[in-house]
Symmetry: C2
Subunit: 144 residues, 2 copies
Amino acid sequence: MDKLSDICQKLHKLDYKVTPQRRVILRTFMEHATKHLSAEDVYNIVKQKHPDIGLATVYRTLDLLSEIDILHKINFGDGPSRYELCQHKSHHHHHMICLQCGKVEEFDADLLESLEKQLTNKTGFQVVNHQLKFFGYCKKCLQK
Amino acid sequence: MDKLSDICQKLHKLDYKVTPQRRVILRTFMEHATKHLSAEDVYNIVKQKHPDIGLATVYRTLDLLSEIDILHKINFGDGPSRYELCQHKSHHHHHMICLQCGKVEEFDADLLESLEKQLTNKTGFQVVNHQLKFFGYCKKCLQK
DNA sequence: TTTCATGCAAAGGTTTTGCATACGC
DNA sequence: GCGTATGCAAAACCTTTGCATGAAA
């Protein structure tokens, strides 16, 4: 979908500088597209090839990238906030969190459009995004 | 719905002690049923009539009550976790978070049952609860 | 050359923990 | 009386901030 160069262009257009740190953090998300990384996760991955990076820079970059809708910030209720690339699908992609083992799986579906319309009609609230989490037990844990 | 005495009975049955602190924290939620209280909120309210209570006790009580499904823990992405009484409706009650003013409103609907069934069929994940948040702009902010 | 980004260290906010004491049962 | 719950203070954990330096445009 979005390539690194596309995202750098977006940064440019918005008058943000394209620094090596921002580049390497973005690349980290592309190389771990299926995972939900915390700031600490990103920091540890990036430090291997870029040992001088600071944790504060990671936080600032994640904030920035969330602000401009490149990353999506989620909190699963275990400690830290986690981030994933937005990509186009993200609006219809939800999380299943296993209460036993803590694993987070993903599920794509869009049955919320009609619910959103109903909500706007009733309340006047204009929806721009939603977040849906399912809590329960994953297949593996059920088999035990 | 659930009265204080019912909840105390539940504590009893599970071999937890019914202390004045637990009682007063529960009463706080009953008296602020429409709000989403953080640990600090609860602490400040309770301290007015019970100045010796400790913040750690509040945290431990909120944890306990969430564990046994009396309270429901939510994180709206602004600092602290917040809590509300579960009550029976809570499974079909969702939150609308205004990106402008930060106000949290509630919306009741149950269109997720069919989605949950579909999810279980496809993935084998057994759902016990869900959490749905809508982000957008509230009526008041739209009018400005 | 100007301005924004970075690294470091310190501070801030939220939550958890250890331990001696107090209290429900 | 036994064992859990409490209060306090300290620590742990996650995140933000101030400031001097460094690098992108």
